[in-house]
Symmetry: C2
Subunit: 330 residues, 2 copies
């Protein structure tokens, strides 16, 4: 890196003048924005050797995933993406071209999602590390969906398909498994390296009356546990109804892993898990389908606490966590 | 660290329920706030071996300085502190007690400044690293003071005294210099390790009609350069009028450094440099004095560009940067 000032100046030039809610962007002591009636803010760390390996992904992919994973938290609130701020720690062996390529990945996802890059900080660091701050907007706090509103009788539904990011991680760690995945290998790896935040689906679910929502970043079972705890309810999930990405079963079998560990315990699919009043589910499903996103009912909200998983022959234990495959957990 | 979830749960418990602008705090996908008419956001990296050394400062002091340095950017806009978000990277040799002590330092500064700790992320990392996001508020964007509004004829003024943080850094790096500092040594080291953001002074300067403002984090001369560039003006600084902290001259002499390098080129004093219409300076000075903060006129805004430094016998060159003393620059 030439110098912090030079790099920031080059980035500011690329990003252009502030617009939309952003009144002052990069180049002052702070960014200045004109917010709506409610602001949603999330911060996420993304560190080499813990959350990703540079041997698996180009700087561009690393940048893309960092922002997508951060925006997924806005999706889980049903918020409109507003601004993103990037703290970048640059190791000695990443040159300026690599830094710019990483920012290009961030910028691409920002452009695809209508997010303004509004500020950041650049520093040397012992490993490539990012901290992403994302700010979302809504007209009022009541329009944002917390984890805490699920009620007994609500239906539990999930967007898209699960298990793909975990299977993709296995393929990256053990390339000899790619044969078992066949044609699905590329899509599974892409699911791990370049996930998509379900921003439109999150806003549609909020509009459809979702009572609680979370993104599946830690894994379906642990994330359901967060909703159960915050809502003071039990969540019952029929594991047979959970949509599974193509190739997940094959990769799990070849790896000697329980496929349910990938589907229920593997994180980073960045799908949304929502509780909805039963009478709202069909309308929500139809609304999401217009944008090409599936919504599948996988269980129900009950009185009690914790997560109850049903297998083909009755209750099953939570699968062994998938964290053991990841150097540092998520 | 026991686990990310455990540590976050313990922190959320300590911080208590959300209040003020904060509608939803730690424990959901995002924090939710009810903002005012304008929001000011800044992010800052704070990395071991680059910005601080653990051998110099306790985890509590590291936490204090990280938040104070971040809040200084809100001070420089004249914003009201709102919320802070902490991304913490924990190395293998920092135990949970150390992490909690670091958060205690952050919490202490949050309490002193009326800042709500609204969220964060915790991860393993190869070195102790923090990324702080601070969010400030104002009734409208026009009330926030950018770097860009200085006009020829304005007076240039600085709060407090400069050079202390750089002299304190020299004392920490070369303890044999402490003798030269005498009674001032402790205050100089405290200036480096536990700076105070000039939040009240920033708001008073904004109310008094400051046309441009910046915090002195990189050094008076380079920070004046940022204001000059953004405002499209020249800034003239009379180096003899810049208030110098007690002991700075003695430490510089003992270290074989030019005292002006510490005063004009040393950063991290976190004082505020403001441009004000000449007729507003006295009222601003009186307002700050009530809070115990001095305001000193040190120069003027002129047509042209860049920073002109005046010594006792006319123009002087910018002092050699102070960055060479710091492993990574700021």
């Amino acid at each position: 890196v030439t110098s912090e000032f030079d790099l920031i100046a080059r980035l500011a030039e690329r990003i252009g003048p502030p617009r939309g809610r952003l009144a002052t962007g990069i180049g002052d002591d702070t960014a200045v924005t004109v917010p709506g009636g409610a602001t949603a803010v999330s911060v996420d760390a993304f560190i080499e050797g813990v959350h990703f390996e540079r041997s698996w992904a180009s700087p561009r992919k690393i940048g893309r995933k960092a922002l997508s994973a951060a925006l997924s938290d806005l999706a889980a609130m049903g918020a409109e993406p507003g601004e993103a701020y990037v703290v970048l720690g640059v190791p000695a062996d990443l040159d300026e071209a690599g830094c710019l390529e990483l920012y290009e990945g961030i910028e691409a996802v920002a452009g695809e999602t209508g997010t303004a890059l509004a500020g950041g900080d650049v520093s040397r660091a012992p490993a490539l590390s990012l901290a992403l701050t994302v700010v979302g907007h809504a007209a009022s706090p009541d329009l944002l969906v917390r984890r805490s509103g699920a009620s007994p009788g609500d239906v539990l539904a999930v967007t898209g398909e699960l298990g793909g990011a975990a299977a993709g991680l296995l393929l990256l760690q053990r390339p000899e498994l790619r044969e078992a995945a066949g044609n699905a290998a590329e899509a599974l790896e892409a699911r791990q390296l370049d996930p998509v935040a379900r921003i439109d689906a999150g806003r549609l679910l909020a509009e459809a009356g979702a009572t609680a929502m979370i993104d599946v970043s830690d894994g379906l079972s642990p994330d359901a546990g967060h909703v159960a705890a915050r809502s003071g309810v039990a969540l019952e999930i029929d594991s047979g109804r959970v949509p599974v990405q193509a190739g997940v079963a094959e990769v799990a079998a070849a790896a000697g892993e329980d496929p349910l560990a990938l589907v229920l315990g593997g994180g980073e699919d960045y799908e949304l898990l929502a509780a909805l009043p039963a009478e709202r589910v069909e309308a929500a499903r139809a609304a999401l389908q217009k944008g090409g996103t599936t919504l599948t009912a996988i269980g129900s909200v009950e009185a009690g606490d914790g997560v109850r998983l049903l297998g083909p022959n009755g209750p099953i234990d939570p699968p062994r966590g998938f964290d053991h495959l990841q150097e540092g957990g998520r």
